[in-house]
């Protein structure tokens, strides 16, 4: 008979780092996820910069300078919202969330690992998009990069909270449909690629108050050199609080 050594958990940072690495690998290996997080933004970037399929009022900027901040905002939305909502919904359905909650990782560690995983995928996206955009002649306003990082973090918080809200409430198949549909609608009319004030009619007012419009405006403000509008930050912060509060209350682990 072997003596039992009291079992101990690995240090918290190592558990969270392991979970973040695991989440990142899983997303980057999944073909459908790559389509939404990498292929879609690149397609939009090249389409907007190199073709005239989309009418773009750039207010004097080059097409690539104008389009890239919006594409980065789309990338944030695709990872923090669509990809994360789908991954979490299926993990929830398959009992993964319950099982990991019984390991030393716990629910808090699982959440932290997911958020770090999202940020890691976003770093990959930012590098890929920036390299392609620079190759296409993108000249970002360098002084605005820290502000863009801040806007990206706030946008990530808002959209991850929304992802967890729908993933924790709807059935997995429902999440699959909603997460993709909402992304398409927000790209088309949510003020992310085209500024809210250039959208037709009531959509202009609506998009200003949507998290997508706020994130797009913040990114353009930072990287085009016009400065981040305070309203965008306020709107993103309010959505983060609202989605986060709702997710914390309504999320069902099983």
């Amino acid at each position: 008979m072997t003596a039992i050594v009291p079992s101990q958990a690995a240090p918290a940072w190592r558990r969270v780092a392991a979970q973040a690495a695991f989440e990142t690998r899983t997303i980057l290996r999944n073909g459908e996820q790559l389509l939404v997080t990498i292929a879609l933004p690149l397609f939009l970037l090249v389409g907007l910069a190199r073709t005239s399929i989309f009418e773009l009022d750039t207010a004097g900027a080059t097409r690539i300078d104008f389009a890239t901040p919006g594409v980065i905002a789309v990338a944030v939305m695709s990872t923090a919202f669509t990809s994360q909502a789908i991954a979490t919904a299926f993990d929830r359905r398959n009992g993964v969330l319950r099982l990991l909650a019984t390991t030393p990782l716990g629910r808090g560690g699982l959440l932290a690992g997911k958020v770090l995983g999202v940020l890691a995928v976003e770093v990959v996206q930012a590098v890929v998009i920036s390299v392609v955009a620079l190759g296409l002649g993108w000249r970002p306003h360098a002084a605005g990069i820290p502000a863009a990082l801040g806007a990206g973090l706030l946008g990530t918080a808002a959209f991850t909270a929304l992802a967890l809200l729908i993933a924790g409430v709807l059935r997995a198949e429902g999440v699959l449909a909603v997460a993709n549909l909402v992304l398409v609608l927000l790209i088309a009319g949510g003020g992310v690629l085209v500024p809210p004030d250039r959208l037709p009619g009531p959509l202009a007012d609506l998009a200003t108050w949507l998290p997508s419009g706020a994130l797009g405006e913040a990114m353009r403000g930072a990287l085009l050199g016009g400065g981040v509008p305070v309203l965008s930050i306020v709107v993103l912060a309010l959505w983060t609080a609202a989605f986060g509060w709702s997710a914390a209350r309504l999320f069902r682990w099983q």
Binding site: M1, T2, A3, I4, V5, P6, S7, Q8, A9, A10, P11, R14, R15, A18, Q19, F22, R25, T26, R29, N30, F90, D91, N94, G95, V96, L97, R98, L99, L100, A101, T102, T103, P104, L105, G106, W253, Q254
Partner: protein, 276 residues
């Protein structure tokens, strides 16, 4: 101190008590089987012990601690194998096991578990492509990789082929020999019979009988007032005369059972034969 003690546990869903005053204990170095038909409240009981559900009444003590209030302290010390597996479907089998092992300060060597449970043959297969039995073996490996003092196995050999079952049973016996408290739910009689030191028969959310397998086999509702004659019939002996003689004296099925009395008979006597 028992490794697990559940005292008058009550858990209701939509006002209906699924677990209704259930009391049981499990000791270290023993395999405790919670045996019951589907819907008896086995899984709900185990989930309350794992801290996944909050009891409506009663107390649960796991290694002397409260599964909710002391969850963080218990998680490294308790291993869990869920009935639905809970394995991430997009990841590869070995990758999942390595990942879970990273949650512990001094896990069991992953290679040894891979060898023991035959995981090597599907190590690089993604979880969604595994068979039911392969999934169960992987889930068991994840439950024990952290060297737990107490493991909960919810229907551990469901969907397994005989080879897998025996590998799982061998591992469970080894855990017991190492002093681990093993609590398993099952509705498989032979599993309870060959593994369990103590069996708690559960029905309608409460324990209706407890004891060792041999205690349960020798007991019964009229224990002491009946006589059991058991003999081994040599091959070729015609039992028709004997059963006819018994039938003339009113001794008919189920009192007459030709064959071996097993835990299954006891179980059906206790929980009834109606389908649910």
């Amino acid at each position: 101190m028992p490794a697990l003690s559940v005292d008058r546990l009550v858990k209701r869903y939509d006002g209906r008590a699924v677990v209704d005053g259930l009391t049981l204990t499990a000791a270290s170095g023993q395999v405790t089987a919670v045996l019951g038909p589907n819907g008896a409240g086995k899984t709900t009981t185990i989930e309350c012990c794992e801290g996944l559900r909050k009891p409506d009444a009663g107390t649960v003590r796991v290694l002397g601690l409260d599964p909710h209030a002391d969850a963080a302290a218990l998680r490294p010390r308790v291993g869990v194998m869920l009935q639905d597996g809970g394995l991430p479907s997009g990841a590869r089998a070995l990758e999942v096991l390595r990942h879970v092992s990273e949650m512990y300060a001094s896990p069991r060597p992953v290679d040894e578990l891979v060898e023991r449970l035959g995981i090597g043959s599907f190590a690089r297969t993604s979880v969604r492509r595994l068979s039911g039995g392969q999934r169960q073996r992987l889930a068991l490996a994840c439950a024990v990789v952290g060297r737990p003092e107490l493991v909960f196995l919810d229907e551990p050999s469901a969907g397994m082929d005989p080879q897998s079952r025996h590998a799982v049973w061998a591992l469970v016996k080894e855990l017991r020999a190492d002093g681990v408290a093993v609590v398993l739910t099952t509705h498989l009689m032979d599993e309870a019979e060959s593994l369990a030191d103590v069996v708690h028969v559960v029905d309608h959310g409460a324990v209706i009988a407890s004891g060792t397998v041999s205690e349960l086999l020798s007991g019964g509702s009229d224990a002491g007032n009946e006589t059991t004659v058991r003999f081994t019939a040599p091959a070729g002996l015609d039992l028709a005369e004997l059963t006819k003689w018994l039938a003339e004296r009113g001794v008919t099925d189920p009192a007459v059972t030709v064959g071996r009395r097993t835990l299954e008979h006891v179980f059906l006597d206790l929980t009834g034969r109606h389908l649910r």
